[in-house]
């Protein structure tokens, strides 16, 4: 049952072949069996999940009209506030915090009858690409437990990949949904900036952050996308427009006559051979389906990584000032006579991990007087050039494509002491965030040299998210025919699994 797609599960629920309680219990059992090895979850809310499931079953029995994914269990990245459920953003500074409110994403999930099973592991405050920066230890890639699942939404991606949940939610500031989706062999979408409310999403870099869906298929991902997106008055950057028709697009999946642009700067040198091979093959598949492949030039992308690692740390140094030990979260050093400033400094030392401190210090430097124009100011101008490059490229193509990440999953510990090597893994995903557009990663097969999943990235203009699903569904269907079975059937069985 747990190996079915969310769409199949929803169908079985609608036909009365199973109940949400049964489905939820099956997933909780799977979590109990395998999460000791995968460590995707920071908190499993079994009781709360079963209560939600029971409620949906009762509503269904009464004949209420329910959302298409009502009763389906889901794993939630720990960066989203859920009322009275521990929410830490992977940081010790928030250990034990119980939010007194729901994020808008959680409110929407609850309204849609989606069953939230628990909170998933992540790099602290979403700063990282391997989930190793979590204050609570790393998550392990279900494909090979000695490797990282990517990050920062590594827990959510690993949970879906390991059949602990059919659906999950992540957040993507520089690739944190798409890159872990690629490294674990699943589908992940970063919606257009402003398409999903950021209310209750613990902020890392406000002009780049966006929550989005994970699933094992393009259609499952679309079903969740449709439920979580939409305008919200509680988020001033929320787009007041209808949600793009992503489910319809995922069901049609036709690329005949579409123009698909390959970004010259995001391939070739620096990309693992097996990654490039699977990418090139996927292009041929799309061409065989009637798409026209063109090459586009985005010269400023060469500077995207540098711009990102100035803009994001600058915004984070400001956003994380709220962790001041005064109103919630950790407080240490509050001895008689200690000043507020001393307590704040001691608490932030004890509560923040190495990468968070590194980025706060880098951001403080980039924003300090004398350096502001040279660093943060220049980065903001590069951002303009990247937006212009995309605008030009989208006059030549309906969607743009690239490998999602330059390599497959790497070993735990391999890059943790080399921040620059880690940052390079985000080179292909970051431009989407800087421009505020949308992107998807879906499995393109396994790299020949290591038998690990490779991600294929699709990018579309702002609020044209349906194009991602249209192209993604077409490629997914053609690859499935070619492979004969879904990619996850090739993943090794986890110990303890029934």
């Amino acid at each position: 049952m747990i190996r079915n797609t969310a769409a199949q599960m929803a169908d079985a629920l609608a036909k009365g072949e199973t109940t949400s309680v049964e489905l939820t219990q099956a997933h909780l059992d799977r979590i109990a069996a395998v999460d000791g090895q995968v460590k995707a979850f920071l908190h499993v809310d079994s009781q709360g999940a079963l209560a939600q499931a029971k409620d949906v079953d009762a509503r269904r029995a009464k004949g209420e009209k329910l959302s298409p994914i009502a009763g389906i269990p889901l794993a939630l990245k720990d960066v989203l506030a859920q009322k009275s459920v521990p929410t830490t953003a992977g940081s010790k500074i928030l250990q034990g915090w119980l939010p007194p409110y729901d994020s808008t994403v959680v409110s929407k999930l609850k309204a849609a009858g989606v069953v939230i099973m628990g909170k998933t592991n992540m790099d602290e405050f979403a700063m990282g690409s391997s989930t190793e920066n979590s204050g609570y230890g790393p998550t392990f890639n279900p494909w090979d437990l000695t490797r990282t699942p990517g990050g920062s939404s590594g827990g959510s991606a690993a949970a879906v990949s390991a059949f602990e949940a059919p659906l999950a939610i992540g957040s993507d500031t520089g690739g944190s949904i798409r890159q872990p989706a690629a490294l674990t062999g699943i589908v992940g979408v970063r919606p257009t900036y402003g398409a999903v409310s950021r209310f209750g999403l613990i902020a890392y870099s406000s002009s780049l952050d966006q929550a989005g869906p994970f699933g094992r298929t393009v259609l499952d991902t679309a079903l969740l996308h449709e439920v979580m997106a939409g305008h919200d008055v509680k988020d001033a950057t929320s787009i007041n427009a209808p949600v793009p028709a992503v489910v319809a697009a995922a069901k049609s999946g036709d690329v005949k006559g579409m123009k698909i642009g390959v970004i010259k700067q995001l391939q070739g040198e620096g990309y693992q051979k097996g990654v490039q091979t699977r990418f090139d093959e996927s292009l041929q598949v799309l061409a065989s389906l009637g798409a026209e492949i063109v090459e586009v030039d985005c010269p400023s992308f060469e500077y995207a990584l540098a711009a990102y690692y100035l803009i994001a740390p600058s915004e984070c140094s400001s956003n994380l000032a709220r962790f001041d030990a005064m109103r919630y979260g950790l407080r240490t050093g509050d001895v008689d006579g200690a000043s507020a400033e001393a307590v704040m400094s001691a608490t932030r030392d004890a509560g923040f991990g190495r990468e968070v401190k590194r980025r706060i210090i880098l951001g403080t430097y980039a924003l300090s007087s004398g350096y502001y124009d040279a660093y943060y100011g220049s980065a903001q101008k590069i951002r303009t050039l990247i937006i212009q490059d995309y605008a030009k490229a989208f006059t030549k193509a309906d969607v743009l494509v690239s490998p999602t990440a330059p390599t497959t999953a790497y070993k735990i510990g391999e890059k943790v002491d080399d921040p620059m090597a880690m940052y390079l893994g985000d080179v292909a995903t970051i431009p989407v965030n800087l421009a505020g557009i949308c992107g998807m990663s879906l499995p393109a097969g396994l790299a020949d040299e290591d038998n690990l999943p490779v991600g294929f990235q699709i990018m579309a203009p702002a609020m044209q998210d349906q194009r991602l699903y249209q192209v993604g569904a077409a490629l997914e269907a053609a690859l499935l025919t070619k492979w004969g079975a879904p990619i996850l059937s090739k993943a090794p069985e986890l110990k303890g699994a029934k």
Binding site: L98, A306, A307, R348, I361, K381, P419
Partner: protein, 99 residues
């Protein structure tokens, strides 16, 4: 190559209100050269006449209707407080006699 001395890092850590151990200051200072070299690449392009983008959305002055909506009760607002007194956040001394 760019660099940032141990004392530079200590000054920034002070501005950011993060107490750091000597080992942390030294480690960060040793890593910063490489990171600064990498991010300084933003200065390689000719950016004269290019406008800065602070935000991907062309939105300005977004306001919601001025209607009273439910908000947190004092109990809920204080539920995560490290310390409280008389329905208020109790915080360490901010002003007053110098020590």
């Amino acid at each position: 190559m760019s660099s940032l001395s141990r004392d530079d890092v200590a000054k920034l850590a002070g501005l950011a209100r993060i107490e750091m151990t000597e080992a942390e200051l030294v480690e960060l200072s040793s890593q910063f050269g490489l990171i600064l070299d990498a991010v300084a690449r933003v200065q390689e392009m000719d950016l004269s006449g290019v406008k800065a983008t602070s935000h991907p959305q062309p939105l300005e002055n977004i306001a919601r209707p001025d209607v009273v909506l439910p908000s947190l009760s004092p109990e809920d607002a204080l539920s995560g407080a490290p310390a409280q007194e008389e329905s208020r956040f109790r915080v360490p001394q901010i002003l007053g006699e110098a020590e």
